[in-house]
Symmetry: C2
Subunit: 428 residues, 2 copies
């Protein structure tokens, strides 16, 4: 690490604490971003295969222009009328099923999930929340208590239950998709019954239907639909967290849940919504929004301001005009095929999973059980960093490479990723 970076790191430790999260054994000191590229203080460039937030590419000129133009015109909260947020809300809701016809705005995915939980509890009269056993939905008190993907998870609060998400690679045990869906959905049934036994009424099932934190397991047809039906029959709502999955990344749909037949009651949005600008929110049935709004008098100072609306709108513009969904499909398929070839050559790659421009490689040890290899995953992402490609890892065993580039990722970029990955896997 250069001396200047070391000095900056020491200053950072002192003023932001020792434990503010940092990537890599040698942290990367960034100074500039453009498209899929990031540049460090020494002018070295890195291919960004990690960051989903700058979904239309780092510093996209159209988004920056919209931000600057609106910021110099007006930036104010929503207790005054402004066209921008109404236009955006209409446009956003039009991308969902007709039953999801109203929007509320926040600044972060945490705030969106907090709002969704409050709304679900108000609407259902229940308090019980079901989450997956390896999930993260935000950093507030309530959402931290629901976080199950922590290295040191606390016991869940009394109102919560966790369910395991099927991962065909490790959980199939000879079972068909139908059996897998049924067996794992039965955990939702058990969760509901366990709540009811404790006098807790279910308020919501809160999941990301791509199961990104869980390691992006191959989807088991029918599983989400069954889980949702069970929760609804018990009076709860289905909150779909699209903070990671949303905004066309899957290639096949604008929203992750649209790859299933389950229509959520509330959808929460965040990270990519403003390409890095703090804008987030939820979409739900207007009846829920009206009922909750009347009771709770919810207000969010920065949420839905004209600048956020302009930025979020520009992001949708770029996704449409550059047809990024098609890019996710095409380049996604290209990368997938390359990853499958890497798997054939490198036994450490136990499993490849992907959905559009979201990829996971399950790294395994050379044993009969294909046991998870978190140490190798850690080493590999640092090898990749040294070779100028930024990725990370995820999953219950922290052994799944997480690759989730900006949606403007090209086949040329893919070649860089695949070649570098091949090299790093060989160097493991």
């Amino acid at each position: 690490m250069p001396a200047d970076d070391h000095h900056l790191l020491e200053r950072r430790y002192r003023i932001m604490g020792r434990n503010a999260p940092l990537f890599y054994d040698k942290p990367v000191h960034l100074v500039r971003g453009e498209g899929v590229w990031l540049y460090d203080a020494d002018g070295k460039r890195y291919l960004d295969v990690y960051n989903n937030v700058p979904c239309v590419g780092h510093c996209h000129p159209q988004v920056v222009e919209a931000l600057a133009r609106q910021a110099e015109t007006l930036n104010i909260h929503t207790r005054y009328l402004h066209e921008g947020i109404v236009n955006y809300a209409e446009r956003l809701c039009a991308t969902f099923a007709p039953s999801l016809d109203a929007a509320m705005f926040t600044c972060t995915g945490t705030e969106a999930n907090e709002l969704a939980l409050r709304m679900a509890r108000y609407v259902t009269g229940g308090t019980g929340i079901i989450v997956s056993d390896f999930s993260y939905h935000g950093n507030s008190e309530t959402l931290a208590a629901l976080t199950t993907c922590s290295p040191t998870p606390e016991p869940l609060p009394a109102f919560a239950r966790q369910i395991q998400i099927p991962d065909p690679y490790r959980d199939r045990q000879g079972r068909s998709d139908e059996e897998l869906a049924r067996v794992f959905a039965s955990q939702v049934e058990q969760a509901v019954r366990s709540m009811q036994a404790d006098g807790i009424r279910p308020a919501a099932l809160l999941i990301d239907t791509l199961f990104a934190n869980e390691g992006l397991p191959d989807r088991v047809p029918g599983y989400v639909e069954q889980a949702v039906r069970i929760v609804r029959e018990a009076g709860g709502l289905f909150i779909c967290d699209e903070v990671q999955a949303g905004f066309a990344r899957t290639g096949d749909a604008m929203w992750g849940h649209q790859l299933t037949d389950a229509v959520p009651d509330i959808v929460t949005l965040g990270k990519p919504m403003g390409n890095g600008h703090p804008v987030a929110g939820l979409v739900a049935a207007r009846a829920h929004v009206d009922a909750f709004g009347g009771a709770a008098n919810y207000f969010n100072t920065f949420g839905g301001n004209p600048v956020s609306a302009a930025v979020a709108s520009a992001v949708l513009d770029v996704i449409e005009t550059e047809d990024l969904a098609a890019n996710c499909r095409n380049v996604g398929a290209y990368v997938r095929s390359g990853l499958d070839q890497l798997k054939a050559r490198h036994p450490v790659v136990g499993n490849v999973r992907s959905q559009g421009l979201f990829f996971g490689l399950d790294l395994v040890n050379d044993d009969a059980q294909n046991s998870p290899a978190p140490d190798k995953a850690k080493r590999l992402i640092n090898l990749m960093r040294d070779r100028g490609v930024l990725i990370s890892r995820i999953g219950r065993h922290d052994n799944i490479l997480k690759m989730r580039p900006p949606l403007v990722f090209s086949k040329e970029n893919a070649d860089v990723l695949l070649t570098t990955l091949d090299d790093a896997l060989a160097a493991l």
Copy 2:
């Protein structure tokens, strides 16, 4: 209301719900802002005497320039190294007492208060929170449960206790400041004892030392210091919410708590920090930040990104180079003197309270008790709106005019405010 505005309002009701808060009987449809002025769709201009968020003035060119320049260069989370946030954190901490020597960043005041509560609970091992009986600290599940200034307050959760804040205008009853401080601080003692009786360990006293939501009562010397001492003796921390009071508004100090002798354990920051850009955070002892960070692995995706750091830094630049603290003092004193004169002429003004560029007028009925006059306050802010001046109201009885203009408010602006207020009071 113009037909276009009516149509926009109907569209807004449909897509954002009936209950998304709006100011005024006839909502104002804004399209542009500059300094202390806001412009509606018909070109009518309004003097902004309400908004503290655009603290250095609407669309300040220096802030917009910093935003645009950084947004076109790099916008990324803090898991990579970046100089901007380290520079800002150092500069921010330097404005506090030496014991407040580390910073963490979020996007909103809600997130900052959530983080502060989590930190206080972790550090103290307690769960109990004491808030004032007419306060608001955010819109999350936990903070909503602590909200006491709602029109329909819910019963407080088991871990919380509320205390009444002394308002010399209504609570003095012939008592000296010393007696007032002692009597009201004894409520803190009772709150602590009541918690302890229920087996709850106090974690924090969470207050805004200006007591803005409570109606900006005249400060009672020694009260905050006594309240804090009692909480500390019981093992709790003092969290000071500077979301409204901070960033030089009081004129006499950068932070509201600096008008007292009580140094907080954690200070939370928000609204004016980015002049409208969603940036917020907290400042605390590094030992607390390190301890909590190590245990909680806290991460905030947008918090402290280079754009937020650049914007927040530009706001500090403007506060310093335009010497806005001095402006708050000078113009604040000028407005105060004018308000005192209005009080002498209009019996409906029962009490004038102010601190720098933050003013309250307690409106009263013409009776022996000076009973609160919320209806008159409501009518008055609408009369002011019709006359081109934006203010609001606050306080336990919703009868206190709330005036809190951008810090660049001038004596000429003050004359407009005072003349218009005189006229509107006469028209009541």
